[in-house]
Symmetry: C2
Amino acid sequence: MKLLKEKIEAEGKVLSDSVLKVDAFLNQQVDPVLMQQLGREFAQRFSADNITKVLTLESSGIAPALMAALQLGVPLLFARKKKSVTMTDNCYSSTVYSFTKKEANDITIDKKFIKANDRILIVDDFMANGEAALGLIDIVEQAGARVSGIGIVIEKSFQPGGAKIRSAGYQVESLVKIASLENNTVQFADDDEAQSTKQLALKN
Amino acid sequence: MKLLKEKIEAEGKVLSDSVLKVDAFLNQQVDPVLMQQLGREFAQRFSADNITKVLTLESSGIAPALMAALQLGVPLLFARKKKSVTMTDNCYSSTVYSFTKKEANDITIDKKFIKANDRILIVDDFMANGEAALGLIDIVEQAGARVSGIGIVIEKSFQPGGAKIRSAGYQVESLVKIASLENNTVQFADDDEAQSTKQLALKN
């Protein structure tokens, strides 16, 4: 997605070979118009899947996921990283390890919000090792519902999450893929370039 | 706001004399179309204030605040409840005590996102004791910026937050005010009814 690449190039900050900071438009300051455009793009990529709910994980996933849900005309669900005392007995939960924060969180969602006939689109801001997406997939499948796909704003394709989840048979759609952050430079993945070229060709 | 009252009446659950659960459309499952309508209402109520940024606190404030920011054509900022290791030295922070969770959180925001000439609209899902709003006001004022107002989705006006913050001179706009949750019943505040009637009168 060309627009998102330009935003990353203009406002993203490479903190290390594995960390890209996008707090200027996604992770602390949020660009609502960009979120709307990301939401439209997700909705378009999954338009044939009869999605019934969009699922994300607090907090940075909420903005793009809300816009995707609005565009698809379905509710948004966000899993919480902390169990609420009132919901302990009646929730699906899964353990998610964060490599950046070096801590494990039990993510939870009230059972009443996912039914066996739901077709869920999982949306998250980043895909790195895939831990958050795997936790959300686990929750959907505990409910006997279907994971229709996974929509990611920024995939770091040099980390193993995307490959692992695609090889397990899930459709992962990443709006941009980053091949490398080495030498303090964002290098986008080739297939992303190919797609941009293809999209451009389609428009002409 | 009539629509929101109807939603609370239909889907809210009174858990105790002080706790209203609205996880069906705001706090875990989120109704994107309703959020859009709340955003429009906030934007309308603060349309004369030349707002430059909307500020909220993760996580439940993000959805209505994002829609308000979209409508106002300005960025959204969300304060975090956990300090990120990378931002410790360069952030505004304030301590917020949660009466429901019985814990204090340091809320933080990177200094680069609030400038002295900013005019900030604070948006949050609930107002009870006012702790979160006071923490966000504190952060804005540390930056030397102006708090243009506080937009609240649901104010529990039987708790002291709203009165405290209004008497300190801030404009607080609550989309609904709840006077009581006693006897397992949601009792809306009278002035809210009066306002609905006034709005109705203006439309006719």
